[in-house]
């Protein structure tokens, strides 16, 4: 589904991604781990099309389409969803209104009729239940005054509404207590199908207790330096990142 080849990206003059290679198939969950500053969030942002980053070389294909050629909104419409590490506040715009606009924009792109109010409400109720979110939260201005947990839960609700092909969760566990973490993870698990894929970007192994990855990749200095299964995550939890850093640094010297 997703194929990243030799991806390099920089912000201003600083090269952050230095040759990422990654293949993600439908039905898979991939975890991207790594120490702070290794380029995890940059990778998520580059895939979503944030303009602060400049891709200097490499290719990214989603189902055979060149993702890097598409505008951020078209990437979203093609099925890329980014759950933000720091969800943005939009005063005066309720999540309901925001989602209604988003869902219909995506439908229009796909040549579908806009959704009428009744069907939209029905869909919303269904998804609300799935991710255990309260309607009162959705009526409030988007992310304004939300707690950390509410913001992340709201991201997962949006993901449920948009039913993405590829969901990228950027440090979704940061700032969550254990109960909120469980609810968010449950939501993500329920949304998993044989046709979609998830990339979980995280610093800690904790989230992976709930969202079990098929593959774990360790990012360091802009490259994937080690890949494995969930056991790798356990090992990292136990030993920290230093041994991987040492290994990787030894190779590059």
């Amino acid at each position: 589904m997703l194929s990243i080849k030799n991806l390099h990206a920089r912000i201003e003059e600083k090269e952050i991604l230095r040759g990422i290679n990654l293949e993600v198939k439908a039905g898979e969950v991939h975890a991207i781990m790594g120490p702070n500053g290794s380029g995890k969030s940059t990778l998520a942002s580059v895939l979503a099309g944030r303009s602060d980053y400049e891709v200097t070389s490499g290719t990214v294909q989603l189902n055979g389409k060149d993702l890097l050629d598409l505008s951020p909104e078209d990437r979203a419409r093609e099925g890329v969803f980014l759950a933000f590490q720091y969800p943005i506040e939009i005063p005066g715009v309720s999540t309901i209104n925001f989602m209604k606009t988003a869902v219909n924009e995506v439908r229009e792109y796909r040549g579908q009729e806009p959704m009428d109010a009744v069907s939209f409400l029905k869909l919303m109720k269904e998804k609300m239940k799935l991710v255990e979110i309260d309607e009162s939260l959705l009526k409030r201005a988007l992310n304004e005054g939300f707690s950390g947990g509410e913001k992340k839960r709201n991201e997962i609700f949006q993901m449920a509404m948009l039913e993405p092909m590829l969901a990228i969760l950027d440090e979704t566990d940061s700032g969550l207590d254990i109960d909120a973490l469980r609810i968010v993870a449950n939501g993500v698990n329920k949304l998993k199908t044989a046709n979609n894929a998830t990339i979980v970007v995280t610093h800690y192994q904790r989230l992976l207790d709930y969202i079990v990855p098929d593959f774990v990749h360790v990012l360091y200095k802009g490259r994937i330096v080690k890949s494995g299964t969930k056991e790798l995550a356990m090992e990292l939890e136990e030993k920290g990142y230093d041994w991987i850093k040492a290994e990787a640094d030894a190779q590059t010297v």
Binding site: R50, S51, A76, I88, P91, G92, V93, T101, V106, Q158
Partner: protein, 481 residues
Amino acid sequence: MSDSNKILEDITSSEYKWGFVTDIENDSLPKGLSEDTVRFISAKKNEPEWLLEWRLDAFRKWLAMDEPEWSNVKFPKIDFQDIIYYSAPKQKVTLDSLDDIDPELRATFEKLGISLDEQKRMTGVAVDAVIDSVSITTTFKGKLSELGIIFCSMSEAVQEHPELVRKYLGSVVPVTDNYYAALNSAVFSDGSFCYIPKGVRSPMELSTYFRINAANTGQFERTLLIADEGGYVSYLEGCTAPMRDENQLHAAVVELVAMERAEIKYSTVQNWYPGDKNGVGGILNFVTKRGICAGDYAKISWTQVETGSAITWKYPSCILKGDNSIGEFYSVAVTNNYQQADTGTKMIHIGKNTKSRIVSKGISAGKSHNSYRGLVKIMKRAEGARNYSQCDSLLMGDQCGAHTFPYIEVDNNTATVEHEATTSKIGEDQIFYCNQRGIATEKAVALIVNGYCKEVLKQLPMEFAVEAQKLLAISLEGSVG
């Protein structure tokens, strides 16, 4: 210029959609202003002697006054001799029925989305349509008069209800209040008049639609609304003008009088021609709007959505004379390209426990300048008065300006006055967040702007709010509707 600014620039350069000219024969005065002009207008309207004298007095006082220069707007000096002060579409002087309206005129208003045909109107809004200097028709007059509500053009009110006009005209905005109010008092040509009797709640929205059509013409309308004890009225005002290369002057006066426990809700969607992208042409909009809560527990609420005009200079105000009376001001002012707006309000607290609330949302784009100017004055006698003001500015791009000039004068130490102000930019982060959910940048800006203005827009009557939302989107974005 960064990418995001370029995007904003692209989508903020839009076209004015109401800029057509209606080809009708006009009955106009030549350009110029003198006592004779004033006499001509008065005679044309068959006015009583006292009104002519009132006008002449205003004219003489105006001659001795100077144009104000304190506002934060710049424009070429107006040549008051280069303006036509009276222009009326030629048609039968009195209309027997709506069918007698010139089909061209009817078509004009249809094109503006205003049906003058009472039967076809579903929304239950009574309309007074004013084109250039005269009122063309007022709908639903019959139905309203059953309740004792008077809703007609000012010219008609002068003929039919001279005692009311004489009593209240100039009672809220005195002739010498300011330069443009004095000019208006001398040469006003028409406008709307409304009287709500004791204890009557108007069952429908009343509305005036102003249209400038003729070239080189100034529009000076005068609106007077009186709600007697316990009366209620919601009043809407809309305006557009053709695209012309020269500036056109619009100097209106609106006076509101609310008696004990009466409530007046006055909403404006101002969409005069703003000039082109290079700042050529556009309406110079110098308006004096003021209401008095004359009785206890009276309430006046101003809501305005200002998107048009090259220059906007207006401060809808409330004099809170009655004890426990309430004044409100909700405003969205959008400036784009080279538009300039200096707008705000004055809340004068005289009575005890009077309350006022100011919510102002300025949006500046292009190379425009947008100023909020407001005065909150608590007089000595105003025990327990309260004011809350919130003035927010939103900047789009990096070539526009937002300014805030709040004045607070408190002469009673039991008063509570709160002022909050914020300035923000539409963040790239916000736009990217919307993009990431599949929402294109244009629509994202519309969504963010409407969210920003929500507190004001929700004050508007339903149909108007929808219109205003569309107008905001169009003013800022071209194709998004």
